[in-house]
């Protein structure tokens, strides 16, 4: 790490971080085990009652194009700034792509009425999508305060600019104007501030090349099936630099990203893994090595995945990597990485051992055998019961719709999984206790997390392939205390990439804000923290993306707090 890259005020903090990274940071003492009482929380699927009548299509028609298997992710965003999270479902289209097929189906934006119901506002807001959609992200790319939407599609992607209050919160397709358009088979996206200039740049993952004229044919005996992703040539990803004037420059080549040709990109997340103040990226690649793209600070990136221990599984295998999340699940002050994978592969829990050094320890944390039969996609660490420990959700579902005919170790439709953090980073599957929503079986893909009813606990929206979505409302999670942190940055208006540390009742929790994560999806931009029995957060420390660190004190629990950059007490001590 070169301290000269950083502004002077951060040099000492950086040195402290370096020391912490080298020595391993401060591990928390073993906490008392979480009581093994009944869960106390139930998730109920209320999609139908809520009016979410969206029906997903993956374009399947018996041709088994691999494009079908990726669809689709889901985005949570408060597009109309009314304080309630709305939902944007990305949809597939008939294949091979055609203008007529593209027009026959639509993505769907549902506005949260605030009373437990949603209304389809796609037509009136103008965000139908223009092609086969895999996923996307939302971010205020033009810095006007409202959230815009980038949709990843097969073929040209689309960027919808939110016209804000003055424009009735309608969206305009500004793809051509903005120049952020990846014409390949895009899967996931992440908005992040690559160069610390306050505006949001964009990384887009691409999956593979599909030839609709000469599609691959694969079968297991008489049963036709999708061909393995390893038989498809990978597509490289794209990196777009925000010029700050509403347009982007494609810097894929100059940044070094175009040299990475072996990845079939799926989920992506922006995270400052080495704590040097520059946002890096983790890309989950299917049947290829994951990328950990270290930001060199000069609009260039280098892949340090293998050197860091996150490119491959614990066995050194290239897994079928799908979704990703980054969080400090064991409260040791370091951000860890969780990646979902294919059947007969363990999901990977890359625990950060020291700066830039990770170890896949899924089996050591209760995430071993229960995941083997599953094909896992959307995921997130979140505190479902507000006890202050991050739990884990995984959305599952096979892509082979006839798998049972030739492989009885798995099924097409699969249950979701909920793992409770037992208080020391150890996870225990509690799916069977979490309500009927966890017994239902789907072929799920993206999952997005947020407090949709603003009652203090985290709800989950799941996109189900070839079906209707699930809205898993959290009932009972708000018995314990909580706090929601909404960041308001000066230039980076939502504080994307900020690090937030909440201390309540003597316990500190760390979280990073991402615009795009999981499986090609996007979560609530308000950071949720469960506070157990604490009545307030004694301190909330924010490290803003452009470097300012400040502290907010005595924030009452059970409230949403909007923290405005520059209004806190400047931090006068290093964090680690």
């Amino acid at each position: 790490m070169n301290p000269f890259r950083l502004r002077p005020r951060l040099a000492s903090a950086a040195l402290a971080l370096l020391a912490a990274g080298c020595t391993g940071g401060t591990r928390p003492p073993s906490p008392a085990a979480v009581e093994a009482s009944p869960l106390g929380v139930t998730f109920i699927d209320q999609a139908a009652q809520a009016g979410l009548d969206f029906r997903h299509t993956d374009g399947s028609s018996g041709s088994y194009f691999i494009v079908e298997t990726l669809a689709s992710g889901v985005i949570l965003l408060d597009y109309d700034e009314d304080g309630y999270l709305d939902i944007y479902f990305v949809n597939g289209r008939p294949l091979p792509p055609s203008a007529e097929g593209n027009a026959r189906h639509s993505n769907a934006l549902y506005r949260n009425a605030g009373d437990g119901t949603f209304r389809n506002v796609t037509a009136e807001t103008g965000v139908p999508g223009t092609g086969f959609g895999s996923g996307g992200a939302a971010g205020d790319y033009d810095g006007d305060g409202d959230l815009d939407i980038y949709v990843c599609q097969y073929g040209p992607d689309v960027l919808y600019r939110n016209e804000g209050k003055a424009g009735g919160y309608r969206f305009t397709d500004v793809t051509a104007l903005a120049g952020a358009n990846d014409p390949r088979f895009s899967a996931g996206a992440a908005f992040f501030d690559m160069d610390r200039d306050g505006d949001l740049d964009l990384y887009v993952t691409n999956y593979c090349k599909e030839d609709f004229q000469s599609p691959k044919k694969c079968a297991q005996g008489p049963v036709v099936r999708y061909c393995a992703p390893s038989t498809y040539e990978p597509e490289g990803d794209s990196l777009f630099l925000n010029r700050g004037d509403g347009t982007f420059e494609d810097i894929t080549a100059s940044s070094g990203i175009s040299a990475l040709t072996d990845g079939r990109g799926m989920g992506v997340i922006a995270t400052d893994f080495d704590r040097d103040g520059w946002m890096d990226l983790f890309v989950a690649n299917d049947a290829s090595e994951n990328f950990l793209l270290r930001n060199l600070g000069n609009r260039k990136f280098e892949d340090v995945g293998l050197a860091s221990g996150v490119a491959l599984s614990a066995n050194g295998d290239e897994n079928g990597n799908m979704g990703v999340d980054v969080a400090d699940f064991n409260r040791d002050g370091r951000l860890d990485i969780f990646v979902t994978t294919y059947q007969k592969q363990l999901n990977a829990l890359y625990r950060c051992e020291a700066k830039g050094i990770y170890n896949d320890v899924a089996m050591a944390h209760g995430l071993g055998e229960t995941c083997l039969p599953m094909v896992s996609w959307g995921t997130k660490f979140f505190d479902f019961d507000n006890d202050g420990w991050l739990d884990l959700f995984i959305a599952n579902g096979h892509l082979e719709d006839e798998i049972e005919k030739y492989d009885q170790s798995s099924t097409y439709l699969q249950e979701r999984q909920l793992f409770r953090n037992m208080g020391n980073g150890m996870f225990k599957e509690v799916s069977s206790q979490a309500g009927p929503a966890f017994q239902a079986r789907h072929s799920s893909r993206g999952a997005a997390f947020g407090d949709l009813d603003n009652d203090g606990d985290v709800d989950i929206v799941v996109s189900n392939s070839r079906g209707t979505p699930s809205l898993l409302r959290n009932e009972g999670g708000n018995r314990k205390s909580w706090i929601l942190i909404e960041l308001a940055g000066k230039k980076n208006r939502h504080g994307i990439g900020a690090l937030v540390r909440v201390t309540a009742g003597g316990v500190s929790q760390l979280a990073e804000l991402h615009a795009g994560s999981g499986y090609c999806s996007m979560h609530d931009l308000r950071l949720h923290f469960g506070l157990g029995n604490a009545a307030a957060a004694e301190t909330v420390e924010v490290e803003w993306p452009e470097g300012l660190r400040e502290t907010f004190e005595n924030l009452a629990a059970r409230k949403v707090h909007r923290l405005v950059e520059g209004t806190g007490r400047p931090a006068d001590r290093p964090w680690f």
């Binding site: 005996g221 066995n315 007969k344 050094i357 071993g368 055998e369 083997l372 039969p373 009885q408 170790s409």
Partner: protein, 472 residues
């Protein structure tokens, strides 16, 4: 009785046919009935498995087990489990069935405890079964029960059946516990037994990285990448082969089924008292092995089985031919190379075949081609040429192989043979130099010193003596 059956409404014709079927043996499915076509290798393999039970009714449980294996290989886990359960119900000591159950159950959600029970049953019915404690160790690891995992793996090691995998699993458990120094030790033990164990190389690099041993980590990582590249190329080549429509994986399954059948026929032949029955079963054994090879020419086990069989029955000609064909099909395969080396040794040791030096020569040629770093094979090949074949035109070859032996392992016997080969070629001065080098490398060895002394005496006019102590 006929009246009673008539009263029961059973037509007479059917009754007669039924009685005939019961009375006449072989009226059920014939063991020599045609197998289903190979276009459906699943049905074909099931028929191969069932045939075993028809040929050898006394082995019907084994035949059922092989049927279970077919289901398992082709992905029908639940069917396989059902059959294995029937097998152990029929024969409670059938350890192999418990072992397969354990394997299948260990891949299933929420059935790991059943997997543990299955493996424990293996140990109960066949104590000391190699590999079972290692599998138990792996299951415990998946469950996060690291102490139990260590206990099981240590048991395997204590029993002397611990292999590279056992040490690798131990390394993994240590790494999961955060005991990276111990993990490094275990990974190194893995690599001692299996230097290109890709996963151990990766694990080693990971643990070294955590320990901050940068240089060692870099070496391990580079070696890992090298091995991975080789494996990826092999995978790509195999995938390319599939383009012509041949499903190699299914052919391998069918090949393995034939091999399972061959095993039973061979065992049956060994126990048969009737020479005709014995001959029939041996014939079926050979047919099975050849079918196995035909379906999967790259199946080393089938090829090795053939070599060993011919060697066992004393048909060294066919043993050597099988060896050569095996290594032509699968060049460089270490087990086949070792089999060739052992075959040569067996030919030379057995007084019935000792005279067939030509065959031993061919076997050793195959061995060194397959195992270029096998010092003993090079040396023995040189010795064979020098002492058995008596073909002057091969002396240069003898020198080449003897030199190779010395390069690989600079030990006294290798120097001895090298020097003698040079003497036979009329290159005495070089021979002396080799002996001197051998003495330098092995200063405590008296044999080479004695050899050199005698050679120098012979050079100065004393009677020429060949290397004493070696075979004529």
């Amino acid at each position: 009785m006929g009246r009673m059956l008539r009263l029961a409404g059973i037509p007479a014709v059917i009754l007669a046919a039924a009685l005939l079927a019961i009375a006449l043996p072989g009226c059920g499915p014939s063991p020599d009935a045609a197998l289903p076509p190979e276009t459906d290798l699943y049905a074909y393999s099931l028929a191969v498995a069932r045939k075993v039970g028809l040929v050898l009714p006394s082995q019907s449980v084994r035949s059922r087990f092989i049927e279970g294996r077919v289901h398992e290989r082709f992905g029908f886990d639940e069917k396989a489990l059902e059959i294995y359960r029937e097998v152990v119900k029929e024969e409670s000591g059938f350890a192999d069935a418990y072992q397969r159950m354990g394997y299948i159950l260990s891949q299933k959600k929420d059935r790991m405890q059943q997997a543990i029970e299955a493996y424990q049953n293996v140990l109960r019915t066949k104590p000391g079964s190699p590999g079972v404690y290692s599998r138990l160790g792996l299951v415990f690891m998946h469950l996060g029960r690291f102490e139990d995992s260590h206990r099981a793996l240590d048991e395997e090691i204590r029993a002397g059946t611990g292999d590279a995998e056992t040490h690798y699993f131990k390394g993994q458990v240590y790494a999961l516990e955060g005991k990276h120094a111990d993990a490094v030790e275990s990974y190194r033990r893995t690599l001692e037994q299996s230097p290109e164990h890709r996963m151990a190389l990766y694990g080693l690099a990971q643990s070294l990285r955590v320990l901050g041993k940068t240089e060692e980590e870099k070496t391990a990582r580079e070696k890992f990448q090298q091995v991975k590249r080789k494996e990826d190329e092999a995978t790509r080549a195999a995938a390319a082969n599939r383009k012509d429509g041949v499903d190699l994986e299914k052919r391998r399954f069918a090949s393995e089924t034939w091999l399972d059948a061959a095993d039973v026929y061979l065992t049956g032949a060994g126990g048969a008292k009737d020479p005709r029955e014995r001959s029939d079963l041996l014939g079926r054994f050979l047919e099975s092995v050849e079918a196995s090879i035909r379906l999967d020419p790259l199946n080393p086990e089938a090829r090795e089985m053939l070599v060993q069989h011919f060697r066992h029955v004393g048909d060294v000609d066919r043993a050597v031919i099988a060896c050569e064909r095996a290594l032509e099909a699968i060049p460089g395969h270490p087990d086949l190379g070792q089999a060739a080396y052992d075959l040569a040794g067996g030919i030379l040791e057995d007084e019935k075949t000792r005279a067939r030096a030509d065959l031993a020569y061919r076997a050793l040629l195959a061995a060194v081609a397959s195992l270029p770093n096998h010092a003993d094979a090079h040396r023995e090949l040189a010795r064979l040429i020098l002492f058995k074949l008596e073909k002057p035109e091969l002396i240069a070859k003898a020198i080449e192989h003897a030199r190779k032996a010395v390069e690989i392992r600079p030990e006294p016997p290798n120097y001895d043979v090298f020097a003698y080969a040079l003497v036979r070629a009329g290159r005495g001065r070089e021979a002396a130099g080799v002996l001197q080098e051998g003495i330098r490398q092995n200063p405590d060895d008296e044999t080479l010193k004695e050899r050199l002394r005698k050679f120098q005496e012979s050079q100065s006019g004393a009677a020429r003596a060949g290397p004493g102590g070696g075979p004529p």
